[in-house]
């Protein structure tokens, strides 16, 4: 049993749940306490010690039945039971018409026998399952197995068999019963295959090698990222954000040495008979307010997503964030991020404005921003643009950009392109540049982290 639990933990780790050694030790201890007799308490015992994030609960619930279930296949029924000898004779006669292989399958369905371990092993050998170590393949693998078992042909043969029986004069009721039973049995077999596929994948997950380190992905340019790299990066962003947050908090605390606050000091020292023992200072720093305007066209998508994830992860160090996304027009996107995984949120936003035939147009987006959301920018807010400044030869609306830059406390531009490329082709970057307080080149995650750290500095 301990072996099985250890395997289960390995599989959880392989599907991206972070479990430390201490936690797995806790799990074993918990199992000692609650015992394994009651499956539900056992499950809760494992879950409470192993899974510490609400979003990982689903993974746990999916994997648990694959590792800990009575390996008994789903119940099947025997259709031949209530038959008269005469009918049984008929059936045997009809069955003789099929090939050896098909007959065995049909008999299985009639009698309701599940697949034996040996048959399952044979099936495994026919399939090449090495390297399939993701639960998303479970349905696909099940279908492959069904095909290998010739489910479709068996279904046809079943119809033929029933037709034959009808011609031989078996009564209609009995035939209907047979059909129902065989269909139910086939479904049960399907379920058994599904379980088996899941177990096989889970086994592969246990053996999956540990993930490569993220250093490589940190320094790889955003353009060259695959979807898998993105997954590792998203994890990395979470970790980075935690580190950044602590740094920002510390900085805020150290900066809290403003002017002496006489009123506060008096109030605090009342209990000391107004002898100033504790001094109060005015808070010197304010948490920044951030307005971020992101280009989410195809070329900028990853940069923007990571930038937004980072910003929303350090939310508690920022007093307010207003996020906007644009391709050809502007959308207010902050509501999409509340209580959601940023990558999901970005996907939803992309669904809202699919990239395609229309072109990136910062100019008109700036116009609609100035019409509707000008009130979000004031002397306390930092204005951040994420984009490559490629406007497809539309009017850049420098006048509005200038107004915005003047209104805000600081204007910062994050551009994934190196400075040498600015102003080439349809890039308006050089025109915007004079109005920006600072411009960072963020071609990879390491640079992005640096930029975020810098831009909250006042």
């Amino acid at each position: 049993m301990d072996q099985r639990i250890a395997q289960f933990i390995a599989a959880l780790r392989a599907s991206g749940v972070r479990i430390s050694l201490a936690e797995s030790a806790d799990a074993f201890q918990a199992v000692d306490e609650v015992g394994i007799m009651d499956r539900d308490t056992f499950r809760i015992g494992l879950r409470t010690t192993l899974v510490k994030e609400a979003r990982d609960l689903d993974t746990f619930e999916k994997l648990f039945p694959l590792f800990f279930q009575s390996s008994a296949p789903p119940p099947m029924m025997d259709a031949t039971k209530g038959m008269t000898p005469q009918e049984a004779q008929m059936l045997a006669q009809a069955l003789r018409q099929f090939t050896e292989e098909m007959r065995q399958m049909l008999e299985k369905l009639l009698k309701g026998q599940p697949l034996s371990q040996q048959e399952l092993r044979q099936l495994d050998q026919m399939m090449n399952m090495d390297g399939i170590n993701d639960m998303r393949y479970q349905n696909w693998l099940t279908r492959q197995m069904e095909e290998a078992m010739k489910f479709k042909e068996v279904r046809q043969a079943m119809e033929e068999l029933l037709k034959m029986l009808r011609e031989m004069g078996m009564n209609r009721q009995q035939i209907d019963q047979l059909r129902e039973a065989m269909q139910a049995n086939q479904q049960a077999l399907q379920e058994q295959l599904r379980q088996h596929a899941g177990e096989a994948i889970a086994q592969n997950m246990v053996n999956k090698p540990r993930e490569e380190d993220t250093d490589g992905a940190m320094n790889r340019p955003f353009r060259a990222l695959s979807e898998e790299d993105m997954q590792t990066l998203r994890k990395e962003v979470r970790r980075l954000a935690a580190a950044l947050r602590t740094r920002l908090a510390l900085r805020l605390r150290r900066a809290r040495t403003g002017q002496l606050d006489p009123k506060g000091t008096l109030r605090v020292n009342m209990k000391h008979d107004s002898v100033p023992i504790v001094l109060k200072h005015r808070d010197h720093t304010l948490k920044p307010k951030v307005v971020v305007i992101c280009d989410i066209s195809t070329s900028m998508r990853y940069t923007s997503e990571l930038m937004l994830s980072m910003l929303f992860a350090i939310q508690d160090q920022i007093s307010k964030t207003h996020a906007f996304a644009f391709i050809d027009h502007l959308e207010y996107i902050t509501p999409y991020f509340q209580g959601k995984d940023p990558s999901d949120a970005v996907r939803e936003i992309l669904y809202l404005m699919p990239s395609g035939h229309y072109n990136t147009d910062l100019g008109s987006s700036l116009l609609s921003f100035s019409k509707e959301f000008m009130d979000t920018v004031d002397h306390r807010s930092t204005l951040i643009f994420v984009g490559d400044g490629r406007n497809n030869f539309n009017d850049p609306r420098l006048d509005i950009f200038h107004t915005l830059a003047r209104r805000s406390r600081a204007t910062i531009w994050l551009n994934p392109e190196p400075a040498a490329l600015w102003g080439t082709g349809d890039s308006d970057m050089l025109k915007y540049a004079p109005y920006c307080g600072r411009i960072f080149q963020v071609g990879n995650l390491a640079q992005l982290a640096d930029a975020v750290d810098q831009l909250l500095l006042h």
């Binding site: 010690t49 935690a242 602590t246 023992i277 992860a313 508690d316």
Partner: protein, 316 residues
């Protein structure tokens, strides 16, 4: 486990099997429990009920932004120290009377130093109080996600070893291990280190029957039929796309409001006047009213024909 569940029930807390198991484990393994979930599902209530069950004192630490160790752990009582030095001046004078050099006087004074840095002048804050308490306690650290990230690091020592280091005195070990319950509304990610030390319990909105049981237990004056209707309505509200879904505590408030208003039916008029107890945003209120009243028939009739099944028809 079953007995724990029953005694929680006697404290008017309806615990699911999961909650009972986790609390049982927390007692057995001596580990803190971290509960997460939407606001108002009874996370804080759980700690109170637990204190009731075990007969322990509940010590509560409410976290907020800017909470630091002087508010959570301990603080030296400067004023008292000063006062004592003033009052003991004569005594000090005596002690130092027959010293001949400054050095000797300082030496003698330093021998008495311990008097001023003793437990006597230590102002105990919730964490220290829970650790030092003579009787076993339940320590509730409420809304830990509101505190700064550094504060978490600071809790680690308390949560894993149940001890507190005070530089001037030394390490204070827990007399009895307190049962620690932390709650979080998940407004930010908690650190891995903290999570690793805790058992994790996610409490979601309860299912219909469970919520009904809670309402019947806490507001027994409400007629069973009306209670069911009310809970069904709340459940269907949660499935709507609202800015803030109504929580259990709001359901209870609403149930109490219905009792106070002597309502015997959830007709349009009653809903109009009381829905604001459940929904706290103007837009939510508008949307809910639109959905509830724009049906072809008044909602009350539909529910009376088929009872439970109709709640699905409101989901959209």
């Amino acid at each position: 486990m079953q007995s724990l569940k029953n005694s929680l029930g006697q404290q008017k807390y309806i615990a699911s099997d999961e909650i009972a198991t986790v609390l049982f484990l927390a007692q057995q393994l001596g580990k803190p429990v971290l509960t997460e979930g939407p606001a108002g599902v009874g996370k804080t209530e759980l700690a109170k009920a637990m204190a009731g069950v075990t007969g322990r004192e509940l010590i509560r630490l409410q976290c907020y932004e800017g909470l630091d160790e002087t508010k959570a752990l301990y603080e030296w009582e400067y004023a008292k120290q000063l006062l004592y030095t003033q009052l003991l001046r004569d005594k000090l004078h005596d002690t130092l009377a027959n010293t001949h050099s400054l050095k000797e006087a300082a030496d003698r004074l330093s021998m008495e130093e311990d008097v001023f840095f003793s437990m006597r002048f230590l102002l105990q804050r919730p964490l220290l109080r829970a650790i030092l308490s003579e009787k076993p306690t339940v320590l509730l650290i409420d809304e830990i996600d509101r505190a700064d990230a550094e504060f978490e690091a600071f809790l680690l020592e308390v949560l894993s070893d149940f001890q507190i280091s005070v530089p001037e005195i030394g390490t204070l070990q827990a007399v009895h291990r307190p049962l620690v319950i932390l709650t979080s509304n998940n407004t930010r990610e908690l650190s891995e280190a903290l999570k690793r030390r805790c058992l994790y319990l996610f409490i979601d909105y309860p299912a219909l029957e469970q919520e009904l049981a809670v309402v019947r237990l806490k507001v027994p004056e409400l007629s069973p039929k009306l209670a069911r209707q009310a809970v069904e309505l709340v459940q269907s509200l949660r499935s709507m796309d609202l800015r803030k879904a109504p929580s259990i505590s709001e359901t209870l408030d609403w149930a109490k409001a219905l009792v106070t208003l002597n309502a015997d039916n959830l007709d349009k008029n009653t809903l109009e006047t009381t829905l604001s107890v459940l929904l706290k945003h103007e837009t939510d209120l508008q949307r809910a009213k639109r959905q509830l009243f724009n049906a072809s028939q008044p909602p009350r009739d539909r529910r009376q024909d088929s009872g439970l099944g109709t709640s699905a028809r409101w989901q959209n």
